[in-house]
């Protein structure tokens, strides 16, 4: 999916947990998430904690859209 979108010339960032899967598939811009069932918010934490994490990582993904890269990159996240 990601590859087709990129092939069409539309910049795309993939948020996912399984980085090896994303790198194997060939996504170019990857932002890590925390798990498979809940990529952007651990239900074991408070809603505020989940929100902060989600807001941060989606922000990293948005910024990644503007990043000029030569090859595959996995972005660092703070929370």
């Amino acid at each position: 999916m990601v590859k087709e979108i990129e092939r069409a010339g539309i910049p795309v960032v993939l948020l996912c947990n399984l980085i090896p899967v994303a790198t194997t598939v060939g996504a170019n811009k990857i932002v890590p998430t925390i798990s498979i069932p809940y990529p952007l918010g651990d239900p074991g934490t408070s809603w505020e904690t989940q929100w902060k994490l989600r807001y941060h990582r989606v922000g990293v993904a948005l910024d990644a859209l503007t990043d000029d890269i030569e090859e595959q990159k996995v972005y660092k996240v703070k929370i």
């Binding site: 947990n17 399984l18 899967v21 069932p37």
Partner: protein, 441 residues
């Protein structure tokens, strides 16, 4: 550790006056057996049906398979599950060979349930068509999950374990026809002859990905989602320390029967002292988050290295994201200088043209492939159905569907079916039985 499995070869299973084993014939008093199963008040309705190889019979939804066994010394066959928790893997256990107890839903199926055809074209897709199956066909009061796609199936699965032990009791005090012996000396106390052979571990990755408890494989009755890899004696696996869960798409599943007879363990035993020094099993797990997957791979690689393993076989109970655990583990072992072989199935898509594993690594250069979960299978109607055929289409079995604009529903009006291999009961025989491989066409 020395384990003796005393085998009693089953030629036939019949209903009769008295539950007993005599001359290869297992007789079951059905009324008493049903009363025994109903001792669990969660079982609201139950029938026992016998299915034999070659019959034109279809069984669905199958949730679990167990080999009937008993321990003459009174210990539980499944420690921590059917009785007190005690160490498995040594002493004597008696097994009824050539048959299995199947846990079958009377009506409802779930994601991890499968189908068995006892005869015809469908029989080749599962090992269980070759066994005499004593089917517990049951309904339960587990209302909370009746219409859920993911079910724990606790009552039916536990009934299968208990009933397997109940039937095993028929040979408790009898002399077996043959005795298989499985014995490994302690790792650092082996003869020079054995020590100079390349040493090998088996790394097992049983299914443990459900974070909610009650769905996963268990070790000594402990849910393996809350578990980190550790070293086990292969005899523990062969002797009931592990039971199967209720989550993975069925063709990728290891049933309890698979654990009890794990062919890859038996094959390593066969070569032990001849061409390899079989150190034992590193029992790992399968995880959800990448960090957990990496952590388990680290545990495994460290243990293999510290044990002095030259080689390892890694095998996973699953496909899809578990491939990431599988490949990470193979790569982590190669990175510390342990030569690896992987045994798993693949998901190459219905067209056979998709990426076979979700992660790939050139370090995984020696893989055995036991099948394609998404291969489409079309089978004609069966004369008799044990369970409920509609479950395949209606209840979200991993290889069935209720609607498809091109293929139509999985279950057709005339009783013929179309499904993915995914829902064949333990169909890819990843434990090591599989005579199937994947080839390029």
């Amino acid at each position: 550790m020395k384990l003796e499995i005393g085998n009693f070869l089953i030629k036939d299973v019949i209903f009769g006056e008295k539950t007993m084993f005599n001359n290869g014939i297992l007789t079951i008093n059905k009324e008493e057996a049903i009363a025994f199963i109903k001792e669990d008040e969660h079982i609201t309705d139950v029938d026992i049906v016998i299915a034999k190889p070659g019959e034109n019979t279809r069984i669905v939804p199958v949730k679990e398979a167990v080999e009937p066994r008993i321990r003459p010394d009174g210990r539980a066959v499944f420690p921590g599950v059917t009785g007190d928790i005690e160490m498995a893997g040594s002493g004597r256990v008696h097994a009824l060979k050539g048959c299995s107890v199947l846990g079958v839903g009377m009506h409802y199926g779930s994601f991890g349930d499968g189908l068995i055809d006892m005869g015809g074209e469908g029989a080749k897709y599962t090992l269980f068509s070759q066994l005499i199956n004593i089917c517990i066909v049951a309904d339960t009061d587990e209302e909370f999950e009746r219409f859920e796609q993911q079910k724990k199936n606790t009552a039916i699965r536990m009934a299968s374990h208990k009933f397997a032990e109940y039937l095993g009791a028929t040979v408790k005090d009898k002399e077996p026809e043959e005795v298989e012996v499985f014995e490994l000396d302690p790792v650092i106390k082996r003869t020079e002859e054995v020590n100079k052979l390349p040493s090998v571990v088996l790394v097992m990755q049983p299914q443990s990905q459900m974070e909610a408890l009650g769905y996963n494989d268990e070790v000594y009755g402990w849910d393996m989602n809350k578990y980190v890899p550790s070293f086990m004696n292969p005899n523990e696996v062969l002797d009931g320390a592990l039971i199967s869960g209720s989550f993975m798409p069925c063709s990728s599943k290891w049933s309890t029967y698979d654990f009890q007879n794990f062919p890859t363990i038996k094959e390593l035993y066969k070569e032990h002292g001849k061409s390899i020094n079989f150190l034992g099993v590193i029992m790992s797990n399968l995880n959800v988050a990448l960090e957990q997957k990496k952590r388990s791979a680290i545990f495994v690689a460290q243990m293999a290295k510290s044990l002095g393993a030259d080689g390892a076989i890694v095998t996973e109970e699953g496909y899809g994201n578990p491939d990431a655990d599988y490949i990470l583990c193979l790569a982590a072992l190669e990175d510390v200088g342990v030569k690896t072989v992987g045994i798993s199935n693949e998901c190459t898509g219905r067209d056979g043209a998709s990426q076979p594993l979700v992660t790939l690594d050139v370090k995984a250069n020696a893989l055995v492939s036991t099948g394609n979960v998404s291969q489409l299978i079309e089978l004609s109607p069966a004369d008799k159905v044990i369970g409920e055929l509609q479950a395949l289409a209606r209840d979200g079995l991993s290889g069935g569907w209720s609607y498809d604009e091109i293929l139509g529903p999985s279950v057709r009006e005339d009783g013929s079916i179309i499904m993915e291999n995914n829902a064949m009961f333990c169909g890819d025989m990843i434990a090591g039985w599989s005579p199937k491989t994947m080839k390029e066409f």
